[in-house]
């Protein structure tokens, strides 16, 4: 069991009673805890928040970025990116501007 803090963007804080972050206990589905595992755990305790991040097929939404520390998981292994104890997962809306 790995405890991970998930940073919640301002636009979604109403879904977690105004909190800037939530802590979830994640179980590893393999030999390491991954971003996907953290989101699976998030889906149990805060399902409305989790489905803003992933669709019902489990894919991250196109205009949502997930960062482990300072690294965008798109540049790493996506949902398979490992996340260690004490690390933070940040949910960040893409700029998607013009």
């Amino acid at each position: 069991m790995t405890e991970v803090r998930v940073r919640v963007p301002t636009a979604l804080r109403d879904l977690v009673a105004g909190s800037q972050s939530v802590v979830v206990d994640s179980n590893s589905s393999g030999d390491k805890v991954t971003v996907g595992d953290v989101l699976d755990a998030l889906a149990v305790v805060h399902p409305a928040l989790e489905r803003r991040v992933r669709d019902e097929m489990g894919r991250p939404r196109v205009h949502v970025n997930l960062f482990v520390g300072a690294d965008n998981v798109r540049d790493l292994d996506g949902l398979a990116t490992a996340i260690g104890p004490g690390a933070e997962l940040s949910i960040i809306p893409a700029v998607s501007g013009g």
């Binding site: 636009a11 669709d55 019902e56 097929m57 205009h63 809306p93």
Partner: protein
Amino acid sequence: MDTLVLVGTTKGLFALRSDDGREQFELVGPSFAGEEVYATCIDTRGAGARLFTGSVSNHWGPVLRRSDDLGASWTEDERAALTFPAGSDTSLARIWQLTPGPADQPEVVYAGVEPAALFRSHDGGATFELVRGLWDHPHRPKWQPGGGGLCLHTVLVHPDDPERLLIAISAAGVYLSDDGGESWTASNTGILVPFEPGSPELEFGQCVHKVARDAGDPESLYLQHHGGIYRSDNGGRAWTAMTGIAGMDFGFPVVAHPTRPGTAYLLPLESDEYRCTPDGHCTVWRTVDGGTSWEPLTKGLPQRDAHVTVLRDAFTTDGLDPAGLYFGTRTGEVYGSIDDGDSWQLLADHLPPVVSVRAAPVG
């Protein structure tokens, strides 16, 4: 009695409310600022009105919400009321239609979505199930999207037989079920396809924009197609072109008068390339003889430099008699009439682009 008009825009939900017999409306909103609200519903079958919205955020995806206090507060089901089931290999893109079920089954609610699928709730919208009969239809892999996407935008429940359903999809056309959604038959006989060589009659593939049911005869239907206007006298089993509005084949909405037989409204647009009201005239057209003839309604509507677009679900009635009629434009105006369309007034302007309007007496 108050009258509520829900105005869904590309930047959130607004509401117009009147407590003085529809003489004046007060605008409130936006709720869900930044979300595209393509589906709204005012369900008046229960003890109090229940509101639904289907919206989508560019970032955070689609959301279904309900309100039992006329929009003062909204709830979103914790477990997502409306999602594609595991194994469907599909995710919900947008909710296009939220329709109350039969009058005597107040817990039944239908939802039409993109990619094209029909969902049904048996618990007042708390949870929805995919209607498998349509999802498994052999035509589905061949359906092609219209300009707005592959959307199921129309759900009509027969008032005398809740097992009889009509749905319409852009650009697949009309499908009928006589067994509560277990099985479906494409029903587009008579509808031409002008955008294909030779304007063939196809079993399916028609770009039907909207269908409305006549108030007096439930077998009579009006249909706005991408390239023509049609009516049916047999519950949608066959369609006949209506030719009463010369040169105005294109448009999105069609609305039937809520109580008067043979009466319906169109808001034609100029060509499928321009898609604005023709010649700068914003005109609603009305038939009172089942579509044989049409009259232009212009009183109170802009007749100079008015190049506006009204989308398929942005024109509605409040169900009263005389009918309140309301439409919103992509340039952010909302017009209303409380005399069956004889005269109109501007109810709101400078809103974001309007994509859905629904109205009903409440309270």
